[in-house]
């Protein structure tokens, strides 16, 4: 199935897709009809002109989404993840055809509106994706023209050389998880969504520019190596209740020597393997804890600590405070005055 569009407006795009699937959108939400698969997609247009799309779908026909070039200049930042039926992270090599991407990949991708791009959503794969449309003016409040142009020109020249410039890492994932829901029930829904969208843009910009600065001493990875490293990463953060896989195991899976694996992982994810594991384990713990459904003890066990003292120490190392401090709600002493 082909969908062609060039709209800077995701509500509009959802309407187009709904029509092709013989259904319609309700409250900016599209539910995939059973004949075509399952899942949902919803979109939101912000008052400032930014547009935002969230989807979690499994289609039974491959869908080819073709974004035609547009005279209007805007950018699309997307975060894609694909999973096979068994829930394993899916990876596919989509060849090297320019401006054609398989959404079945764990990547962060920035594209622009003046070049036509194709996105393939393969049948039988669960695709989780978040897409953000923004324009230059949306970021100029925060950083100047020069920095913006620097970011874009560097990024697009990197993208030509390497199609997997930026992997989805666990930190992105924890932000994405806060948006990947069939419906956001929040008293300040717009503020909630806008803030997370801005955080995703921030993280992308900061992370990419930092990487460019370090680039001179980093080594060049090819597409195949990157895919293998992504597999290593997925395995690493899959289960925190048990000890992380050993370097030997990871090295077998990635078909790389331990030395190469360690060096390449660091250059791609910005930190050594076990530091990355530990950091994301703590991010996960924090999420469990602040979600309010688990006690400190339960959280500790869920991230693999049988000794709560060790858990508390590790937590403090990451966030500068103990788990108990993170959830404490001390009462206020009234300290106010009103003079008439």
């Amino acid at each position: 199935m082909d969908i062609q569009y060039n709209s800077p407006d995701y509500v509009d795009l959802l309407n187009t897709i709904a029509k092709a699937l013989g259904t319609r959108i309700v409250n900016n939400t599209l539910i995939i009809p059973p004949a075509f698969g399952k899942g949902y997609a919803w979109a939101e247009n912000f008052a400032n002109g930014m547009s935002f799309l969230v989807c979690d779908v499994t289609l039974n026909t491959t869908m080819d989404m073709i974004r035609e070039s547009s005279a209007r200049q805007f950018y699309i930042l997307q975060f894609n993840e694909g999973f096979t039926e068994t829930g394993e992270a899916a990876f596919s090599n989509d060849g090297q055809e320019a401006n054609k991407y398989n959404m079945n990949q764990q990547i962060v991708l920035l594209t622009n509106s003046y070049i036509s791009t194709r996105f393939i959503m393969p049948a039988g794969i669960q695709i989780k994706s978040i897409k953000i449309i923004f324009e230059k003016r949306h970021l100029l409040n925060f950083f100047g023209n020069e920095l913006f142009d620097d970011l874009m020109s560097n990024y697009f020249s990197e993208l030509v050389k390497n199609r997997h410039v930026e992997p989805v890492d666990a930190e992105y994932r924890s932000l994405i998880d806060e948006l990947l829901m069939p419906k956001i029930e929040h008293p300040l829904r717009h503020v909630y969504i806008a803030n997370r969208v801005m955080l995703l843009l921030e993280r992308f910009a900061v992370k990419f520019m930092n990487k460019m600065q370090l680039k001179s001493n980093s080594n060049k990875l090819n597409d195949d190596e990157i895919t293998r490293l992504m597999k290593v990463e997925t395995l690493l953060v899959k289960d925190y209740t048990t000890a992380p896989p050993t370097i030997e195991k990871l090295s077998r899976i990635s078909a790389m020597s331990p030395t190469k694996l360690k060096r390449d992982f660091k250059s791609m994810y910005g930190m050594p393997i076990y530091e990355y594991f530990q950091k994301n384990r703590m991010i996960h713990a924090k999420k469990l804890l602040t979600g309010g459904n688990y006690s400190i003890k339960e959280t500790g066990i869920m991230v693999g600590y049988s000794n709560l003292g060790h858990f508390a120490a590790a937590f403090r190392k990451e966030f500068g405070m103990l788990p108990s401090e993170m959830i404490s709600q001390e009462l206020m002493i009234d300290f106010q005055s009103k003079e008439n």
Partner: protein, 317 residues
């Protein structure tokens, strides 16, 4: 004790004011306290969209009483303050988020050797309404703000607030993205505050059905009630005439809006005023008691300790 009065609403002006008082220079929109006064810094960041942020991390050697005097212009001032106790290094229970309105005076006592890590933001009603947008709870929050702005709004500081404040204080090594990072953290702080307000509103079954007209009348009642603490408060019949409501309706809607029955509210505000006067160290306990209509000092002490678990003499020390 040093007393610092100010009414600046432009943070850059305020910083200059502090700089003059502490006899230091403003460098890169920041001042560092001279060693004879204390240590630490106060820093102002002005966003391109006009939003101003003050980030501070300081300890004074002696008690400082900050006194913001009211101005006719209505602006909202947010402070997210974490206070660290010198003896234990632990966060003080006074750490809180405070929302106040520049139409009212406001006092803040910064005790000697207490480290304060704070983030302050100031903005107008329009900015706030724009921020809240058209969300489901936005209308409730706007109404709540209209009503609850005379007693200040507090929220205790939990870990998530503290984490964001610490991120802002530590700052970023990459100055190019500073504005973006600061802006996003401020937005998260405000999101958290207003989300919690809206949860509170729902918990309290906050009645948003009271008409705007009734709200205005109740505000007149509230002003009348708190006009003079030295005399007996006006009776319900008098207030009911002012409000043009039946006594029953007045009592019910007053409680709905101000969270307390009429005379309990009067009493609470009376004691708050007592505490503020005592903290200013300008009055004796007796003067404060008399000013607030207590001829019998032990009655005053009893009423005061009922609310604050502390005797007036302890606060006056």
């Amino acid at each position: 004790m040093i007393e610092i009065a100010y009414n600046q609403t432009d943070f850059e002006e305020l910083l200059k004011h502090f700089a003059r008082l502490f006899k230091v220079k403003v460098v890169d929109n920041a001042i560092h306290l001279p060693p004879e006064i204390g240590q630490g810094f106060l820093r102002v960041i002005t966003m391109t969209n006009g939003l101003q942020v003050m980030i501070s991390n300081y300890t004074f050697k002696q008690d400082i009483l900050f006194k913001r005097t009211k101005i006719p212009k209505e602006l909202y001032s947010f402070r997210f303050d974490e206070m660290i106790q010198p003896e234990t290094g632990a966060s003080s229970p006074k750490s809180a988020v405070l929302l106040s309105n520049t139409k009212y005076d406001w006092l803040f006592l910064n005790s000697a050797n207490m480290q304060l890590k704070g983030v302050a933001v100031i903005f107008g009603k329009e900015w706030l309404y724009n921020f809240l947008g058209q969300d489901g709870s936005a209308e409730d929050i706007k109404k709540y703000m209209l009503l609850k702005m005379s007693p200040f709004t507090y929220d205790p500081l939990d870990g998530e607030y503290r984490r964001l404040i610490n991120e802002l204080i530590q700052g970023t090594t990459d100055k190019r993205f500073e504005l973006f990072i600061v802006y996003n953290r401020i937005m998260l702080l405000l999101e958290r505050f207003f989300t919690r307000i809206s949860i509170k509103i729902n918990d309290a079954h906050f009645n948003v059905k009271i008409s705007a007209e009734d709200i205005t009348r109740l505000k007149v009642v509230e002003t009348e009630l708190l006009k003079d603490f030295s005399a007996e408060p006006p009776g319900i019949n008098k207030l009911s005439r002012i409000a043009m409501m039946s006594p029953t309706k007045l009592k019910a809607s007053f409680k709905e809006i101000y969270g307390l029955p009429v005379y309990q509210y009067f009493q609470k505000q009376r004691m708050n005023k007592a505490k503020a006067m005592l903290l200013s160290k300008k009055y004796t306990v007796k003067e404060v008691g008399l000013e607030l209509g207590y001829a019998n000092m032990s009655n005053f002490a009893k009423a005061f300790s009922k609310l604050f678990d502390q005797l007036p003499s302890e606060v006056a020390k």
